[in-house]
Symmetry: C2
Subunit: 276 residues, 2 copies
């Protein structure tokens, strides 16, 4: 517990209650690590296997040793125990630097930071989104994984705050639509859902994966295909996904009122109702 | 001082000796901050005005309040005092999060982390560089400033280590040459130096600025112009620049022996010999 903090939190650093990390943490110097934000209910972490699988993919990509899964499960269970509803954030970094400079020595020991947050207030009843002037750089080496280099999202949310909107859609400099600032994006026309492939940009979201898994059984067609910011301006409905919001309809986009697709509620009920 | 650490260091966090930061540091979660690496000799920081000017530009770009310059100067002086030769690293972050999520509240207080490192060993006498398979994403919102989102450099140095080279040149996915992994790059042919403009990629280096300032007086033509990775394969000489290495000739690039340009030594002597 940090004194004076406004957050209702509980934190484990490498399994031990604590609220600080070393100034030599490579995550602090370079954003050299990964994170997962997890939805928790009735003392359980939802979709934990999917989170751990993505974390493992990220560790492999960055050349960080994946922490022991059983140990992670135990630590998560410790923080979520007795909680009716909360968010957990897990950060796994390459660890404390053993020397100066970008190049890892290979002798670093990964750091686990596990942080519990109170379940956030419900999103705005009128969820407003604009198109961000902050573009996303394309990098196939970083796409898909949930790494800690998030300035593009921070800047986009800063601009969104000034514009009085809840979130922003972001595209590449060439106008390829990628994602919401804190979500994946679906352009929806009735039972047809389109989402950009995650190839050289963006995060492969857990809820996005669940949408792709559950849609077909409900007669909803979800297709990954390249989309542009012009497509977002023309679609009758936009749905955003992340583990906190679940499926979130966009009510207002760039001055235009959007519809809430009936398929969204059905899809979310199927995802939320299914066993992990 | 961290027990057991291999680094010879001394550290101030917000002006106070310390070796930890809060787990809620936004730099840890998002890389939400900036840094400067400074060359120090005989108790003085070289080119401090240029460092502070770049830091201020970065703060403005990210919407972080620039720390008081006099305070920074006092803290830097405290760490560099009595040091014959060292490096100082200053990290300025947006501060400890006042809530969850990417969006800054605007109520954050910037954190100053100032860290002294022993002067590093001399670079390899045979400085070997390859072309990195890790590309740089283009983002005009982040180009030029020395922000903390450095995974592209970390990954490139990791690959370089496996390849047994000292550093890598990095380009965009479309093959535009940008920089060395920890330096700016000049393709040199006798008295003609070419360097890529820093528009949508890369850091505007202090030593690069000094090269541009001092060259003309020595009859060396330095020009900013778009360059490709093919240009790097064809040039007779490559020079890298940063405040640690100064001007560093590349002796070996992608299997080819390169010459050390005579103009390099003259230029470095002019830069190093001039008053700040």
């Amino acid at each position: 517990m940090r004194a004076g903090g406004a957050l209702t939190t509980s934190t484990l650093v490498n399994g031990v209650p604590g609220d600080t990390v070393s100034v030599d943490e490579r995550a602090l110097h370079y954003g050299d690590g990964l994170f997962e934000t997890m939805r928790c209910r009735d003392g359980q972490v939802r979709w934990l296997d999917l989170h751990l699988a993505r974390l493992a993919r990220g560790c492999e990509r960055l050349g960080i040793a994946m922490p022991d899964r059983d140990q992670l499960r135990r630590e998560l269970a410790q923080l979520v125990q007795g909680q009716q509803r909360c968010l957990l954030k897990l950060i796994v970094t390459r660890g404390v630097a053993t020397g100066r400079g970008y190049r890892p020595s290979g002798a670093e020991q990964p750091t686990r930071i596990l942080r519990r947050y109170a379940w956030p207030p419900a999103p705005a009843a009128d969820y407003r989104v604009h198109h961000s002037p902050i573009r996303l750089g394309r990098n196939v080496a970083l796409a898909g994984i949930k790494h800690l280099n998030r300035l593009e999202q921070v800047l986009a949310q800063q601009v969104a705050a000034r514009a009085g909107v809840d979130e922003a859609l972001q595209s590449t400099e060439s106008g390829q639509l990628v994602a919401g600032t804190m979500s994946n994006v679906f352009l929806v026309d009735d039972n047809r859902w389109l989402t950009p492939p995650i190839i050289d940009c963006g995060v492969g979201g857990i809820t996005r994966t669940l949408v792709l898994q559950h849609a077909a059984a409900l007669g909803i067609e979800v297709r990954e295909q390249p989309l542009t910011s012009a497509d977002a301006l023309a679609t009758p409905a936009i749905v955003l996904s992340n583990v906190r919001l679940g499926l979130q309809a966009v009510h207002w986009y760039e001055g235009r009122r959007l519809s809430v697709p009936a398929s969204m509620t059905r899809l979310w009920e199927a995802i939320d109702g299914a066993a992990d």
